[in-house]
Symmetry: C2
Subunit: 325 residues, 2 copies
C-alpha cells in the first residue's frame, strides 16, 4: 500500500466503491506510524454522509447463534433494499486463534449479497489496539452509503464496552436457558443493552426461550432508568434465526428506538460523547506509542530499564527521571 492518494481514496469510498472501502479499512487497521498519519488524513477528508447509518452493536457468547442471526437478519434488511455492513471486534482471536467472521462461509448467503459487505475480524487483534479502529471502519462504511452497520463481538472481557462506545444501539443475543443462567450475564453488560434477543425460540427450545425472555424482561425492569430510553425500553424479545421469526419485530423495535432517540436529541448526544471518548483514547494511545516509536525515548527507556533491573535505580524514581527529561 504505497503512495496512497488519500483524497482520491476518500472520494472513491464516498462513491460507494467496495474495493476502495476494503483498502481504506486495511489502511485504518494498519499499525504502521506512517499509515496512522494517512488514516487521520483520510478520515478528515471523508465527506459527511447525508444521513448517518444505524450502527448496531451485537454481542453474544459463542454458541448463541450469532452468525445465523446476522445472516438471517442481514438478508431480511437487504431484501428491504437496505445496504448492510458487518464488522467484528474480536478480543479472543489473539489468544485462542479462533476468530469471529474469520470465515465468510459462516454467512454464506449474506456474503454473496451485493447489498452486504462483510469484513472479517483483523487477526491478532488486541483490545484497545486495532479494536478501536473498528470505529473508523464503521465511519468508512457509513460514508460509503451503508444504511446499517452491524458490529459483532463475543462476550469476553471488555469488548462489549468497546463496541457499545461505537454504536447507536446495543443488542445482546442470548440462548434459551434455565433461570439460574441469568446470573451468567454480567450486570454491566445488561446495563448496556438496548434490546435483549433470546435466540433459538423454535422447536423444542421454544418454551424455554419464552421463559428466559420473561426472566430477562423482569431483570431489565429492575435496572435504573437511562435518559436515552423511552417508556418500555430496554426490551427482551424472542427470535429464531433458524425460522426467521421475530426478526422483523426486532428490527421494528430497533427503528422505533433509534427514531425516538433522533427526535429527542439523544442520538446526536450519544454520538458526540462517543466521538469525544475516541478522541481522548486516541491521544492516550498516541502518547504511549511514542515510548516505542520515538528512537530517543526508546533508547532512554531501555537504559533506565537496565538500571532498574540491575537494582541501581528504583522503578518509581527512574520513571520520574524519564518523565522529567
Amino acid at each position: 500500500m504505497r503512495n496512497i492518494d488519500v483524497k482520491e481514496l476518500a472520494g472513491k469510498v464516498a462513491a460507494g466503491d467496495r474495493r476502495a472501502l476494503a483498502r481504506a479499512i486495511t489502511l485504518v487497521e494498519s499499525g504502521r506510524p506512517d499509515h496512522r498519519a494517512q488514516t487521520a488524513e483520510l478520515m478528515a477528508a471523508l465527506p459527511r454522509p447525508a444521513r448517518p447509518a444505524l450502527r448496531i452493536g451485537l454481542s453474544g457468547t459463542p454458541g448463541v447463534g450469532k452468525s445465523s442471526f446476522i445472516e438471517a437478519f442481514g438478508l431480511m434488511l437487504t431484501e428491504q433494499g437496505l445496504r448492510v455492513a458487518v464488522l467484528a471486534v474480536d478480543p479472543s482471536s489473539a489468544r485462542s486463534g479462533g476468530s469471529i467472521l474469520g470465515d465468510k462461509t459462516r454467512m454464506e448467503r449474506l456474503s454473496r449479497d451485493p447489498r452486504a459487505f462483510i469484513r472479517p475480524s483483523p487477526s491478532q487483534t488486541h483490545l484497545g489496539g486495532v479494536a478501536r479502529r473498528t470505529r473508523e471502519a464503521a465511519t468508512l462504511c457509513e460514508a460509503a452509503g451503508f444504511d446499517v452497520v452491524l458490529i459483532e463481538t463475543v462476550g469476553v472481557g471488555q469488548s462489549e464496552t468497546v463496541v457499545a462506545q461505537m454504536t447507536d444501539l446495543f443488542v445482546l443475543l442470548i440462548a434459551p436457558a434455565g433461570g439460574d443462567e441469568l446470573q451468567g450475564v454480567k450486570r454491566g453488560i445488561m446495563e448496556m443493552a438496548d434490546l435483549i434477543l433470546v435466540n433459538k425460540a423454535d422447536g423444542p427450545l421454544k418454551e424455554t426461550a419464552m421463559r428466559t425472555c420473561a426472566d430477562y424482561a423482569g431483570a431489565l425492569r429492575l435496572l435504573r432508568k437511562r435518559p436515552q430510553d423511552p417508556e418500555g425500553y430496554p426490551k427482551a424479545m424472542c427470535v429464531s434465526a433458524l425460522e426467521g421469526s421475530g426478526l422483523k419485530e426486532a428490527w421494528d423495535e430497533m427503528q422505533s428506538l433509534a427514531e425516538w432517540r433522533r427526535k429527542t436529541g439523544h442520538f446526536d448526544r450519544m454520538r458526540a460523547e462517543q466521538a469525544r471518548h475516541w478522541f481522548e483514547e486516541e491521544v492516550r494511545q498516541g502518547l504511549l506509542a511514542r515510548l516505542t516509536e520515538d528512537r530517543h525515548a526508546r533508547v532512554r527507556m531501555e537504559e533506565l530499564g537496565r538500571e532498574v533491573a540491575a537494582g541501581r535505580a528504583v522503578p518509581i524514581d527512574a520513571a520520574a527521571r524519564m518523565l522529567g527529561e
Copy 2:
C-alpha cells in the same frame, strides 16, 4: 501530611518503626502529584534490606476461606519468630463497596500479633491506579525488616496478573468442588500459580478436597514447563485453615521453591524483570497523568474535545493535532 522529611521517614521505616511504615504507605498510596514526587524520593532513599523478604501473592475467590487461611498461616509464621506483613490488592472495592481486609477483625488474632502488620486495602482503589502502589508498599515492608510479605487479592479481572508481577511466589487458594468446577479457574491464572492449595480439607469436605487436589495436580502436569520451576512444581496440596493441617507442609514447599530459585538465579531474574515492568508502567501512567494534570494540556484537550463532539473535527485527526503540538 505536610512537610514530610522523606529522608527521615525512610530511616524510620528501615529501623522498623511501625507508625512510620503506616505513614509511608499512606504517602505512597496518595494520588496527589506532589506526593508522587515525594514517593519517588522516599523509595530512592530507602536502604536495601540485607536479605529480601519472601513476597507471596495469594489469590482466591470469595468463599474459599482466604482470611482464615491468612490468619492461620500468618500465626504459624510469627510463632516461628518470623515477621509477617499482609497487604491487599482489591479490584472490586470501588464497585461493590466490599473490601478485603477492610475489617481487621476478620483476622483478629493475627492483627494483634506484634510480629504481624496488616494493612487494609485502600478504599476506592482502581486496578492500575493505587493497585500498582502495592508494590511500593511491599518494598517498604521489606525495608522495615519483614520476612514474609503476603499480598492478597480476589480472583477478579486482572488483579492476579498485577499481584503475580510483584511477588516471588504465587499461591492460588481453592475450595473443594466437583471435577467440573475445575474449569472455573481460568487457564491464565493456573499458569501463574506456583502452588495450588485446596482449603477446607477437613470434616465432611475432606474427601472432596482430596479429589479436587488430584484434579488440579493433573491439570498442572498438563501445563507447559516454566524455566523458574524445579522438577515437580507447580504443586497442588490440601490444607485446612480450620484445623491448621497442611500449613507447615505448604510453607516447606514455598521455602524449597524459593530456595531453588535463589540458588539458580531465577529469584533475582524475576525481581529484575518485575522492576523493569513497573518502571515502564510508571512511565506510561505518568505520561497519561499529564493530560489531566498539566493545565495547558487539559485546556487544549477540552477545546479539541468540544470540536470533535460538535462534529467539526474527527477524533483521529484531532488527536493527531493534539499530539503534534
